[in-house]
Symmetry: C2
Subunit: 460 residues, 2 copies
C-alpha cells in the first residue's frame, strides 16, 4: 500500500475505531507470520473491531480504497495464511470474544469469531456439552472455520465442516450475510456454510459462528499402547474403524516422536510406534469398545498398555501427545520446526508413513511423525538444524515429495492445515480442472482479489 493511501485509510479507520487501529511496526510484524516458517509479511495497519458491524465498516473502507483485507484470529496458522503479501489491513478479531447464545436444548452455541477453543471449553464446562474440534493450539473458532480445522477428535466427531451450523460473514463489499440456519439440516439452496468453511479468508470475513455441541460422554477412558511396527499400529486403527467401534481419538506417534516425548516429559515409554486412544460412551459401551480394540491390538502384537480413567490421569497421559510439537523441537536445540500434513485413504496410510520415514532418513532430516490415523491424516514435523545451511531446502523438498506421495495415493495435500501460501504449488496437481471452478467462485465473490490475496489459489 503506498504511503498516501495508508494515511488516508488510517484516518478513516481511526474515525471509526479510535485507538483500535495501529500502524505500530512491531504489532504489524506480529501479525504477518503466524506459527509458520514462511517469511513474515506485515500488514500496513492492524484494526481491532468488536462487532460484525465494525468489521463491515472496516471492509467497506478497504473496498472503497481497494486495499487488501487479511482476517487474523490467534495467528496459529502454519501455512502462512496471515502474511500480508500485498500489504493492506489486518483485521484482528480477538476483541470479538463474546458468546452470543448458548442453547443446550438445541445443542448449539453462537460465538463471535474471536472466541478461542479454551474459552469455549471453559464456558461449556458445567453445561454437560462440549465442542469436539480441537487443533493442537488455542486457535480462535473463526480461524478454525477459515482453515477447516479438525484435530484428534475428528475420527468420531468430524471436522469444522461437520460442526458449523451457520455463519455470519462480511462480504468483500462490506455487506453482512448469514449462511445456514439453526436447524440441524437443510436442503435449501447452495451450501454457503461449507463454502466459507475452509475458504481461508479469501471470500469474506467470518465474524460469528453457530457451532454444534455434543453431549459429554458419561465415561471416558484413554490408553497408550505400543506396536512392533507402524503397520501393526495402523492395522489396529483401521480394524477399529472398519468394525464400527466409535473410537473418539486414535493417534499414532512414531518411534522418533516417542523418543522426543520421553525426553521432553521425563517419561519412559517403550520407543516404538505407539497409539494414544480415547473411548467415549456409557460405562458399558466403553467397556465393550475397549475389550474389542484390545483384541484387535493383540492380534498385532501390542505391548505395554497403559490406561487412564480419571480426568487427571487422562490429562497426564494426553499431555505427551499435546506436547508433541515442543517435544520434537527439543530433540535438536535451536532447531526450527516446519510442520506439514497430508491425508490419504486409510489403506495407504502405513505405506505412506513408512516411505516418508525412509525418505526423511535418506534426506538427513529428523522428522518425527504424529498422525490422526483413524482419518488417514498425519503430520510430519521436520526439524531444521540450526547448523545445516541446506536444512530448509531439504525440508522443503521432503515436504514436496510427501505431498506427491499422498496425491499418488489418491489423497490430499492437506488434511487440516489448509493451503495458505505453503501448499499453493500443489493445488493444480490435486484439483486439476476443478481449480478453474474455485477461481470462478473467487472472481464472482471477490472480483478485485482483495480478500487475503495470494492465499488458497495459486497465481495464474
Amino acid at each position: 500500500m503506498n504511503k498516501v493511501l495508508t494515511i488516508s485509510v488510517f484516518d478513516e479507520l481511526r474515525d471509526l475505531l479510535g485507538d483500535r487501529v495501529t500502524q505500530d511496526t512491531d504489532i504489524c510484524r506480529e501479525h504477518g507470520a503466524g506459527y509458520s516458517y514462511h517469511t513474515c509479511m506485515p500488514p500496513d495497519l492492524v484494526v481491532y473491531p468488536s462487532c460484525t458491524e465494525e468489521v463491515a465498516a472496516v471492509v467497506s473502507i478497504c473496498a472503497r480504497h481497494k486495499v487488501p483485507v487479511i482476517p487474523f484470529g490467534a495467528g496459529t496458522s502454519v501455512e502462512g495464511h496471515v502474511a500480508a503479501l500485498e500489504g493492506g489491513v489486518c483485521i484482528d478479531l480477538r476483541q470479538m470474544h463474546q458468546v452470543i447464545q448458548v442453547s443446550y436444548e438445541d445443542m448449539y452455541v453462537t460465538v463471535q469469531a474471536g472466541v478461542t477453543r479454551n474459552q469455549l471449553d471453559k464456558l461449556l464446562e458445567r453445561g454437560g456439552f462440549f465442542f469436539p474440534i480441537g487443533p493442537g493450539v488455542n486457535a480462535t473458532l473463526g480461524g478454525m472455520a477459515g482453515t477447516r480445522a479438525s484435530g484428534t477428535n475428528a475420527v468420531r466427531y468430524g471436522t469444522m465442516k461437520d460442526n458449523v451450523l451457520a455463519l455470519t460473514v462480511v462480504l468483500p463489499d462490506g455487506q453482512i450475510i448469514q449462511t445456514g440456519s439453526k436447524a440441524r439440516k437443510s436442503s435449501a439452496g447452495y451450501d454457503l456454510t461449507r463454502l466459507f468453511v475452509g475458504s481461508e479468508g479469501t471470500l469474506g470475513v467470518i465474524t460469528e459462528l453457530t457451532l454444534r455441541l455434543h453431549p459429554c460422554p458419561e465415561t471416558i477412558r484413554a490408553a497408550v499402547c505400543m506396536f512392533p511396527t507402524v503397520e501393526a499400529a495402523v492395522k489396529t486403527a483401521i480394524t477399529t474403524i472398519q468394525k464400527g467401534i466409535p473410537i473418539a481419538r486414535v493417534e499414532l506417534l512414531d518411534t522418533v516422536m516417542m523418543r522426543a516425548v520421553n525426553q521432553y516429559s521425563y517419561l519412559d515409554y517403550d520407543e516404538k510406534p505407539t497409539l494414544f486412544m480415547e473411548f467415549h460412551g456409557t460405562a458399558g459401551e466403553v467397556d465393550e469398545q475397549v475389550r474389542k480394540v484390545q483384541e484387535y491390538a493383540e492380534a498385532q502384537a501390542v505391548s505395554g498398555f497403559v490406561w487412564a480413567d480419571d480426568e487427571p490421569s487422562r490429562t497426564r497421559l494426553w499431555r505427551a501427545r499435546t506436547d508433541a510439537a515442543p517435544a520434537a523441537m527439543a530433540l535438536i536445540p535451536g532447531s526450527q520446526l516446519m510442520g506439514t500434513d497430508v491425508c490419504v485413504p486409510i489403506s495407504r496410510l502405513a505405506k505412506c508413513i513408512v516411505d516418508t520415514q525412509a525418505d526423511a532418513e535418506a534426506t538427513g532430516v529428523l522428522a518425527p511423525i504424529v498422525g490422526h490415523v483413524g482419518d488417514g491424516n498425519f503430520h510430519l514435523t521436520m526439524l531444521i538444524h540450526p547448523d545445516d545451511p541446506d536444512g530448509f531446502e531439504k525440508a522443503k523438498d521432503l515436504n514436496e515429495r510427501l505431498v506427491l506421495r499422498a496425491l499418488a495415493m489418491e489423497g490430499t495435500c492437506s488434511g487440516e492445515h489448509g493451503i495458505g501460501m505453503g501448499k499453493l504449488p500443489y493445488m493444480p496437481m490435486e484439483h486439476k480442472g476443478a481449480l478453474q471452478v474455485m477461481r470462478a467462485i473467487k472472481q464472482a465473490i471477490d472480483p478485485d482479489n482483495r480478500m487475503n490475496p495470494g492465499k488458497l489459489l495459486p497465481p495464474i
Copy 2:
C-alpha cells in the same frame, strides 16, 4: 426450443448416441414431472448416455446451441426439479448404473450417478457395510446428491452432504472435473463437493460419486411405542439425542398417520402419536441404548412398546413407516398427495407440529405427519380431495404458512426435499443477503443459465 433448433440438436445427439436419444412425446412427458404436484413440463428431447464422456459430449452440444440441460435420475423429486421450464435436453442417467469401485478397506464405493439406492443395497449386502442415506423411494444416488437428500438414518449417519467424498461433474461447457478425493478429510481449497451436493443440477451434471460406507452393526433392534401427545413423543426423542444415545432412527407418526397406517396395512396400533425407533451397535451397546430410551419414554407416559429383533420382523415393523405415503393417500380414495417438509431447531419441533396440525384442521385439509424428529425435520402429506375445487389452493396456503412458521422458528423451508420450483418463493425470506452470493456463484459457473433453469434460484 424452436423447431429448427430441435432438429439440429437432435441430429447431433443422434450422431453421438444413436437410438439413445428420443423426442417421443410420451417419453418426454414422463420426464417432465417427477413425483410432484407441479404441472408437467416436458423436455424437447431425452438422451440416455452411458458414461461421463457421453454426458460431457451431450452437454457440449447443448452449450454450442445454447439449449437448456436437465439432469434426470429416477424422477422421484417432489418439488418439480425435473420440469423443463424452458424446454431443452433431459439427460436421463439411468443407463449409467455401473459400480466403478468398491473398497471395503477404505470404506467407500464409487458409482455412476444412475445407480439406485436399492441396487447399492443389494451390492453391499454381503460385504458387511452399508450406505445409510435412504429417502422413502428408490432414487438414484446422483439425484440424492443433487437434492442433498437424507431420510430416516440421518439422525445418526448424517445426510448426503456428510456421506459424499468425491464427485465427477460435467460443467456447463462440457468440461469434466473431479471434486474431493478418496481421503476421509481435506482442507485443500474450496469445498466443491459440498457445493455440488444440493445444487439441483443448476451448476453441472453429477455423473459419478464416491460414497462413504459404514460397517453394518452387529445388532439391530427396532421398536414402536405410543405417547399421549406429540409433545411427549418429541420430548423423548430430544432427551435421547441430548443424552448422546446414538439412536439410528427415530421417526414420529402423528395420530392421523397412524390411522392411515392401520387401515392400509391391516394393523391395530393405538392411534396416538407414535415413535418408530431403531438401535444399532454391539449387543451390549444396543441393550444399553434401549434401556435408557425406555426410561426416557416412560417419563413421558409411553405405552404399547412393540419390539423387533430379527430381520423379517424389523422389515415388517418398518413397512408401516415406509408405506406412509400410499397409506396416507388411501385415507381419501382418489386424492392427490402434496408433500412438503421443513426443519426447525428441535426445541421448536413439538410446537411447530402441533400448530401445523391445528392449522390443517382449521383449513379443512387432511394432512398426516411423519417426522425425522431427531433432526427437527418433518413432512406434511397434504391430501387434496378430488371433490374439493379449492383443495389445491388450500394445500398451497397451508404449505406456505408451514414454511413461514418454520422460518419464524429459525428453521429452514426444506430439510431434505430441496427447492426445485416449489420452494422458490421462500428463498429470499430464508437467505436474505446470502441469496445474492448464490446468484453470483450460479452466474460464475453457468453464465448462460442453461443448467436446469428456473430451479433453486428465484427469478430476479
